[in-house]
C-alpha cells in the first residue's frame, strides 16, 4: 500500500521521503470456521505534504488502491479500510 500510495503522491509532485509517508496497519485475525484467517486490514496513513497539497494528497488516497498489486491480489478475501491524517509543512 505505502509503495503504491507513494507513487501516486509523487505523480502529484508530492515528495514522499524521508519521514513523509508512514502507515499504521492492523490486521484482524479470526477463526470464523475454526481456521485462522485474516479477515480485515485497516491502514491508517500519516502524510506530511507541502502547503496547499492536501487536496491532491486526498485524491491520491482515494484512488491508489486500484493500482496496488497487493490490494488487487487480496481483494475479495480481505476487507481493507483506509483512513488518514495529513499535515502540511
Amino acid at each position: 500500500m505505502v509503495g503504491t500510495l507513494s507513487g501516486a503522491l509523487e505523480a502529484r509532485k508530492i515528495p514522499t521521503y524521508p519521514d513523509k509517508v508512514k502507515a499504521k496497519v492492523q490486521g484482524t485475525i479470526e477463526a470464523p470456521e475454526g481456521v485462522l484467517k485474516i479477515t480485515k486490514i485497516s491502514c491508517h496513513y500519516e502524510l506530511k505534504v507541502p502547503a496547499g497539497k492536501s487536496e491532491a494528497a486526498e485524491r491520491a488516497l482515494k484512488v491508489f488502491e486500484q493500482g496496488c498489486p497487493v490490494a488487487q491480489t487480496l481483494k475479495g478475501c480481505i476487507q481493507f479500510t483506509h483512513t488518514w491524517e495529513i499535515e502540511e509543512y
Partner: protein, 66 residues
C-alpha cells in the same frame, strides 16, 4: 460479534522512493522487513534500484508457502 483471536500491528515507512524501499516494523520485533523491487517487478516499473529487496508480492507468496 466475537473478539478477534489476534491483532497484528505493523508500522510501514516509506524509506527511499527512487529505490522503492519500504520498512515494515511488526509489533514485538525490532528488526524491520524490507520491501523493494527486483527481477520482473523491477522491469515492470522500469527502475534500477541501487539495492534490491523482495517485493511485497514475494512476501505474500512466502507467507503462503510458510
Amino acid at each position: 460479534m466475537s473478539e478477534p483471536i489476534a491483532l497484528t500491528k505493523i508500522t510501514v515507512i516509506q524509506k527511499d522512493t527512487p529505490n522503492k524501499i519500504r520498512e515494515a516494523y511488526i509489533d514485538g520485533f525490532s528488526e524491520p522487513l524490507l520491501f523493494g523491487v527486483h527481477g520482473g517487478v523491477k522491469q515492470f516499473y522500469g527502475v534500477n534500484p541501487d539495492v534490491e529487496y523482495p517485493s511485497t508480492l514475494d512476501h505474500i507468496v512466502s507467507s503462503a508457502g510458510g
